[in-house]
Subunit: 352 residues, 3 copies
């Protein structure tokens, strides 16, 4: 079975094909309105996320399929003490494909071990959210007609923003993309991302002002800054306006620059920006449906030989938010890379 | 796009056509069981209302369409601080039509400003609930074969009951209808409704006893009286039985009088009345599905030129429950009527 | 109309036909993927039960039908004080068939009195859960190719486990089945079940050790033991391991013994047992969908003459959890058996 836990599960060819098909579906939705007749997606949302859940539901319904699921585990058998495995086994027996959102890192990977059907990671804690990145790529490809040679500015919380890390990594698979990271000192892009950029032969800049760099950008990718990420409220109040996108700051931007945001936004884009033709975040949100339609089609039409060999070690992952530390029966799978070992669930490196 | 925010958005011809089509659908549901194939309704319920939500869902499903939505904004991005506009923009990008219920007045109007798809008002605070009125009209038309020359008694909370106000206003668009308002002094029909009746050349009576007037009625429209509407519990206990419909009080009623109630009921109709053939409130509830099927068809097949010119003033609506006082980015639209100005969202008059 | 409140509502022929059709559907699901086109099931869950609710939803969707419903009455009109009857009347006006789960005993029976559509009991308190028993029967029939001549071991909470009582009663309708009841003294099978077994000419054994009797079993039916069923925590800690199924205890079991469990499990089956080919509880769970598909088909294609005569007495049921003691307008129906009277809702005997 084919799962989507991490975008690394897919080759670049596969990703291009998913994006290409999404564009095709968007042009001719009626040709695809029955292809999933009789199929069911289970949307298991262990934490609420209306937008993501609805975009999966809409995707399946627009393909002629159907939906079961929950968005509140307190109304489910989970509340009776059922373990994660059993829930996945049982709903995997009902559904043809499962999209899962979970507060713990590695939950989607854990689900893929037990399910009798393909699993799509709809967000596992602060770890991965690959369908958001596919949505971003579709929107860029559609607007720019290319995924190469672009200068992408990321603004806001670059330290914790998983969508930022994921999109940077994907853009590195294409050619000649440049990155400008715009943030406070506290919320700078992590070193491991910088290292990946450098080791792949690409370049980046780090700046502290949105205004000073906006004119260089083909894409401005805004993210939500959370008050609690700042060291103090004073600090927050001092800095928040520096990173707020306003019509004023847009004056220096290129006419064909596009503004993206994974949404929900709170305050970081002034509402007056919405009327600017470069503001594409709502279009981006609706692209989420088309890319998920394409993804479901891809996954359910791909058969793979399951000869994955997992490395099991007599070690525990020391990430407290890793699902292996909550569901104790999970096998301790690790990945070896050079001389380092990484938890197969949450990707955290372990020291032996 | 065609929205249904207020019944005034529709001409009498349109309303008659919706009712006529509802009767047709009820007779031949199978002819309509695929007409909405591939279409999705978003049911956005910012406060719970199972009945109304399910009737919209059933309507769309019986037309061959599909449903997404929520009934608890605490499980949605709203809980993350997302503004109303963004939710509407995004779900309007997923769905083909939206039915919205919201505790604030004017919410449906506000949604219609931003949505990329038609909006149906499924109740905005105590302001409007037009699909209930359509349901009432369908039931009367079906049972009486006319909407003219009827004597309608309204009993219960006539002061706050938005369904009462709305049905009176609609019945005035037909000919020779008379109204008998049966309530306590505290819960009498508001003056502005009386004025509308008089200025349209119709007549009404106000009485304090259900028993004394029931023999004159073609239709008895019961409503829920809420304990907290009375000045004291003593007052409530004294008066509640005066307005409770019992089999006893029905003895004086005409054989072909029909009893309606928008439901839910609590105590105002004795359960033994349910077995009386004149008790039509459950039939009325199921008519809600047919009239909504007809409404969805009407809205999705009507294209209109959007040349609505809104009057924007540098004033705020002073209704604390108006959505403009909660979502600050909303434009301040007003309607001028004679020399008065009314908020375009919640219909409240403002003093300049 | 045909309801399923209690399995006694069905003849053995009907039950065999439902199981036979379920096996047929499982083999050729595509032949049934449109038979319920245009039909709607209402799943009214007055208490949460994801698994059961989803299995009904999946069943209807896989037949080409659609779903409405709720899983949290706090989000419904129930919260506004609406009585049970009104909810059932109204949703019975929307849906073509209703599956109802309710914490009070007799709720499904009460619903069947008022609904305009067939009712399926999806669990009424600790009273009945007939679709679980149909699921069990399908799994046994499928695995053993017979429902006769089997030795069935029941392990765990045999006192309160309604699925155990129900399956025993059903297995007695087939030939030459034997029962071994494995439990603590506190959780032994009730006398009335023993009496039914004896009076039907069958035999049973009662034992206190799973290990000692596992080698005699064709079927091991495990159930959840709840901590609070024991007289003390000390008692629980002493005894819980005696009844926990482990790979070790399975060593003595027959190669073709099958292990069933109605799920959810908590601790009573060690997770390592899942990999044993005899562990069929997840297959059993997925069989729940097929048997419910078959059941829906059966019920919606069966017309019966409604000449049920109910015996009404001027007595009240003295079971505090009986729905008649919460919804006061319900008629007081009783069943006479020999010289005893039983509440028609919750099956409790009353003393006159």
């Amino acid at each position: 079975m084919k799962h989507l836990i991490d975008l690394d599960d897919f080759s670049l060819n596969e990703i291009n094909s998913i994006i290409g098909k999404a564009i095709e579906i968007k042009k001719n939705p009626h040709e695809f309105s029955n292809v999933m007749h009789g199929k069911i997606i289970g949307t298991l949302f262990y934490e609420p996320s209306t937008r993501t859940q609805m975009s999966f539901q809409t995707a399946m319904l627009k393909l002629g399929g159907q939906v079961i699921g929950f968005n509140n585990p307190q109304n489910s058998s989970v509340a009776k003490g059922e373990n994660f495995k059993d829930t996945i086994k049982i709903i995997g027996g009902y559904a043809d494909i499962i999209a899962i959102r979970h507060p713990l890192e590695g939950a989607a990977k854990a689900a893929s071990i037990f399910a009798n059907c393909p699993i799509i990671n709809a967000g596992d804690g602060s770890h991965l959210h690959p369908t958001q990145t596919l949505t971003d790529l579709l929107t860029i490809a559609e607007q720019k007609n290319t995924l190469n040679g672009l200068t992408v500015g990321f603004c806001g919380d670059l330290k914790y923003g998983r969508t930022v890390h994921s999109l940077v990594k994907m853009m590195l698979k294409y050619k000649n993309n440049k990155f400008i990271f715009i943030s406070t000192e506290e919320l700078q892009i992590p070193d491991y991302i910088k290292n990946i950029i450098i080791s792949s032969g690409n370049s980046y800049e780090e700046v502290f002002s949105l205004e000073d760099s906006i004119d260089k950008l083909d894409i401005l990718y805004m993210t939500r800054i959370q008050k609690e990420r700042f060291t103090s409220i004073q600090d927050y109040n001092l800095q928040k306006d520096v990173f707020k996108l306003t019509t004023d700051k847009l004056k220096n931007a290129n006419h064909n620059m596009i503004i993206l945001h994974p949404l929900p936004r709170v305050d970081e884009i002034d509402i007056s920006v919405d009327d600017d033709p470069r503001a594409l975040y709502f279009k981006q949100a609706s692209n989420g449906v088309f890319v998920r339609m394409s993804l479901i089609l891809h996954i359910l039409s791909t058969k793979i030989d399951e000869n994955v060999e997992n490395l099991t070690l007599n070690e525990s992952c020391n990430n407290k938010l890793c699902i292996t530390n909550h569901e104790k029966y999970l096998p301790h799978y690790f990945k070896k890379d050079n001389n380092s070992y990484f938890c197969e669930y949450c990707s955290r490196e372990i020291k032996l």
